[in-house]
Symmetry: C2
Subunit: 141 residues, 2 copies
Amino acid sequence: MQLTRGADYAVRIMIHLATLPENERVLLPALAAAANAPASFLSKVLQALTRAGLISSRRGQLGGFEMLPRGRQASVLEVVEAIDGPIRLNVCVQHGPSCSRKSWCPAHPVWQLAQAAMIDVLRSASIADLAANASHVAVRD
Amino acid sequence: MQLTRGADYAVRIMIHLATLPENERVLLPALAAAANAPASFLSKVLQALTRAGLISSRRGQLGGFEMLPRGRQASVLEVVEAIDGPIRLNVCVQHGPSCSRKSWCPAHPVWQLAQAAMIDVLRSASIADLAANASHVAVRD
């Protein structure tokens, strides 16, 4: 049971972008260095963040990736879910039609509580706050 | 990011066994019915629970699976980890040598907190308590 490596990279990228001044664009190699991640792997992550409306990408000489206001306000949960989809602890608390056993299964409330506890932490951590606390020197392009 | 189906079955099996009188043995088909799980899949789950010292298995006419005192006292976390191994939210909080980024990575404390919140819920839920609260009628062999 693990969040993907891509989600972990995405959070580090978002924190890095949130440390930069508004409208500053960063090229992929600089983002890869800041997130300590292989550039080849990051393309898909950046596409997903763009699709989710958290960052924008621009081609050309003045191109690069840029934080959007929605991304700056995002929680860690939103960033993770932009990459991995909805977080579910196990199939018992899956999205969609409810588990047919839940009316009698004594384990169901435990799965729900454990999932909610984890999600609450990720929801209450904002990218902006983490960027403000970041002690590392931001790598710029 | 999900606990496996096997872990989910294991918790249901353990709760069922904990509803039975001490020393009562149950055959695999009855456990499969109680856990609402395919018998073929359960063999591996039952082997893992036996290896972990949570249940015992006996062959022959009076054979079957039986709860051990350690299993009765186990938490949901112990049962899940008997099947899935240590629960880790992502590679950042993996077992073994610590993440080399953790001294500066602003995301690290969030992963740690989220993992701890989830694990705390699973650790504080005991199989015995869940069995005591179980409202369903135990399926016997």
